[in-house]
């Protein structure tokens, strides 16, 4: 357990700090740490890991997303669009006689309506997720840290951000160190 050289002592202007980042070896540690940080009353903090960690939602107290409603809406509009499209084009705008069939033929309209349902629902899911996550976000302060590159491979990080009202550089660093971080780093914005 060591303090990173170069950061020790030097009072870094709070304005230039994005947050404090702690690195953990295992899922267990980061889970525990997250629990702790939350209980310590921080909101503006996040965990970074190569895999989704189970129980992390509870540990961090993440509210369940409302994505499913968006998807449902997408599906519903897809179905309606499909039926409306086929009814309006083939029965209203340019009707023609086909094999003695009704001009609007519900049975024959099912496949297209179904496919459109799926399509819009799926688009809803993906676009919803990407937008809600604020992606694409090619630039982020964390990317500047060499150490953070392992966040996508085999290390787990927890970052308490300076935007948190109760953010205190030293106390935060303490807290994280105590939570068993293998190293604690300051992140510049």
């Amino acid at each position: 357990m060591r303090f990173p050289r170069g950061l020790a002592g030097k009072g870094v202007g709070r304005g230039r700090v994005f947050g404090v980042l702690a690195e953990f070896e295992t899922v267990a540690q980061v889970l525990a740490a997250a629990e702790r940080v939350r209980q310590a009353g921080y909101q503006a903090f996040d965990v970074y890991s190569p895999i989704p960690i189970h129980g992390l939602d509870e540990a961090m107290g993440i509210r369940t997303t409302r994505l499913p409603y968006l998807v449902a809406a997408g599906g519903a509009s897809g179905a309606l669009l499909g039926l409306a499209l086929q009814w309006w084009t083939n029965a209203v705008d340019y009707p023609y006689l086909i094999s003695g069939m009704p001009r609007f033929f519900l049975v024959a309209s099912v496949p297209v309506a179904f496919e459109l349902t799926i399509l819009l629902a799926a688009l809803g899911a993906v676009v919803g997720m990407v937008v809600a996550n604020g992606l694409p976000q090619l630039h982020h302060p964390l990317f500047a840290l060499e150490e953070f590159r392992r966040a996508s491979a085999d290390r787990f990080f927890l970052c308490i951000e300076a935007s948190d009202p109760s953010f205190q550089l030293d106390s935060v660093r303490e807290l994280l160190a105590a939570a068993g971080a293998s190293q604690v780093l300051e992140v510049e914005r």
């Binding site: 976000q137 630039h139 590159r149 392992r150």
Partner: protein
């Protein structure tokens, strides 16, 4: 990472995050653009209307029709009996121009044609695709005026295409002929206007002479 030293690290600059909205614009805009391209770009309305090629003889409809008061049928005399409103033979021009403006250089091609029997090569303005079968007699004898498709030819020094002559444009009239109908004898009039509401007047004409424009494919495509 294994032993190999810290490589050069590329970082996306801050401003890249501000591109996000534009991404959305592109993703939504591209399909829309393509649709509009087919819809409007592919339409004769954009490609054909206003086409006014130069003719071998600078024949002025404005002069002959408005000032001299020629009827369309004086030259296009097959319009009531044939599918085509034939371009007149050189003979027709010479009926007058054997005496009038016999020296005019503009009329040289006409005189040559008359002398040699070789036709004058006029440039076609209203050019339907080869798979479209339009019949002038069918329309004129039902009281669809020349002006409906050809516009105010009597005002044209050089004949230009005014209507798109697109399939959709034809269908509009075939589905709702009323506003476009007039008494057959008025077909060639450039100035005729319906007494009162054109739609109402047209409806009476249609019912009177049982005009049922067909929208079946084979009416125009065979």
């Amino acid at each position: 990472m294994k032993g190999d030293g810290p490589a050069h690290r590329f970082l996306f600059p801050q401003w890249t995050n501000s591109l996000r909205p534009w991404l959305g614009v592109v993703l939504v805009g591209l399909p829309v653009y393509l649709v509009v391209l087919v819809w409007l770009g592919g339409s004769p309305k954009t490609t054909d209307v206003g086409y006014a090629p130069q003719q071998p003889v600078p024949y002025s409809h404005a002069l002959h029709v408005r000032q001299l008061g020629l009827d369309c049928r004086y030259c296009h005399n097959t319009v009531e009996v044939s599918a085509v409103a034939a371009i007149p033979p050189t003979q027709t021009c010479m009926n007058c121009h054997a005496k009038i403006r016999t020296e005019s250089p503009k009329l040289l091609p006409i005189r040559e044609s008359f002398a040699t029997g070789k036709p004058v090569a006029w440039v076609r303005v209203h050019d339907l695709p080869d798979y479209v079968y339009f019949n002038h007699s069918a329309h004129v004898s039902r009281g669809v005026g020349c002006v409906e498709c050809h516009g105010r030819v009597d005002a044209m020094e050089v004949v230009a295409q005014v209507a798109p002559l697109s399939m959709g444009w034809c269908l509009d009239c075939h589905r709702d002929p009323d506003p476009h109908l007039r008494p057959p004898e008025q077909a060639t009039s450039m100035t005729w206007t319906a007494p009162g509401d054109p739609r109402e007047y047209g409806r009476q004409l249609r019912e009177a002479s049982r005009i049922e424009p067909s929208t079946e494919c084979w009416t125009c495509h065979r």
